[in-house]
Amino acid sequence: MSPNTQKATLQRRPLVKKILEGADDNLLVIAGLGSSNWDITEAGDRPLNMPLWGSMGAPVGMGLGLALAQPKKRILVITGDGDMLMSLGSLATVAAQQPDNLAIVVLDNEKFGETGNQATHTSPLNNGPTDSGAGTDLAMIAKGCGIADTGTVRDASEVAALVKDVRTKKGPVFRLVKVMVEKLEFVMPPQDGAHLKDRFRQALLGHP
């Protein structure tokens, strides 16, 4: 069995909880729309989280703009495979800037979760008439874009190293994490974008 056809065993919610454990004012988090938003919110809503409710394809760019503006803070982008596929070029833009304080975690369940779990391009090529993708490897794409420190995590034994890498290792760091397809409760943060932005700036800068 090639690694690409191994069944995912990691669950996204406990994983994200571990990644964000002990988050302090030094950690600024941006989450992509849909599942990643609900994941970071279940781990604990906080002003220095910027959970997106739309703007698919935006999280990596937001993370980069923030990383350059706040070089002393750690910036963590958490998003899904569908969102990442929509902004592959942003990985090349990250590579061109080499922000040493930016980490990107893509939770890859190979599905468009918010629209009914249709296959994304990261699903296997020949996976039946309604569930086939292209076997796209986002970690290889990140590497090909020029992000040297990339990796794929599939096993519970690798999670401790994953957490350490995305929280502390010199960036840019890119980690693809293969996660299970699960039906999970929606855990929603405030929706108003201006409020989310203002509370983030208030917490970070001391003014909205």
Binding site: L66, L204, L205
Partner: protein, 176 residues
């Protein structure tokens, strides 16, 4: 050569951006903005980012603002269509956004492929709630970009300045 002592309008834009404390400059390669982009690249106070598509400029600007920095997106009208979905972000998050757009398909354009997006540019930006300023003569550039920057950074608006083709000149493909 131009014997006039008036500075090049692109140098004037650079000064305005500096005066407004713009720290991050996003661009795709562009002949119209070329001289301005190079000035920003040489600046010690600005970080210049080349994009793979204009669309990236909007979330970058949002992230910069979250982190307390001002930014500007430099693009051609042909790139405006690439930005439209994410152009909703300044409205949703209510953050200041400034973009300077060199127009094609606007004034004596020879390339028919440039007309649809060039002619559509003001309409689609307006549809997304972006405030439009337009400038056709070099004498008006500085005041217009300054006013646009004030509307964006002081007034909290999403603002686009259309640098009309009449100002930039008709592209002649290398013939000087």
């Amino acid at each position: 050569m131009n014997a006039s002592t008036t500075p090049d309008w692109r140098d004037q834009i650079f000064e305005v951006l500096q005066d407004h404390d713009v720290k991050q400059v996003y661009h795709v390669p562009d002949a119209g903005h070329g001289r301005l982009i190079e000035a920003c690249q040489r600046s010690n106070s600005m970080r210049t980012l080349a994009l793979t598509t204009e669309e990236e400029g909007i979330p970058l600007a949002a992230g910069a603002w979250l982190g307390g920095q001002r930014s500007v997106l430099l693009m051609q009208s042909s790139g405006v269509g690439n930005t439209i979905n994410l152009m909703g972000m300044p409205k949703t998050l209510r953050f200041p956004f400034l973009t300077l757009i060199t127009m094609r398909g606007d004034w004596g354009e020879f390339n028919s492929w440039q007309y649809p997006m060039g002619q559509g540019t003001p309409k689609v930006l307006e549809a997304m709630g972006v405030l439009l300023y337009s400038v056709e003569t070099a004498a008006e550039v500085k005041a217009t970009v300054d006013a646009a920057a004030r509307s964006a950074f002081n007034g909290g608006q999403a603002v686009a300045v259309l640098l009309r083709q009449k100002l930039i000149g008709i592209k002649n493909f290398g013939k000087k």
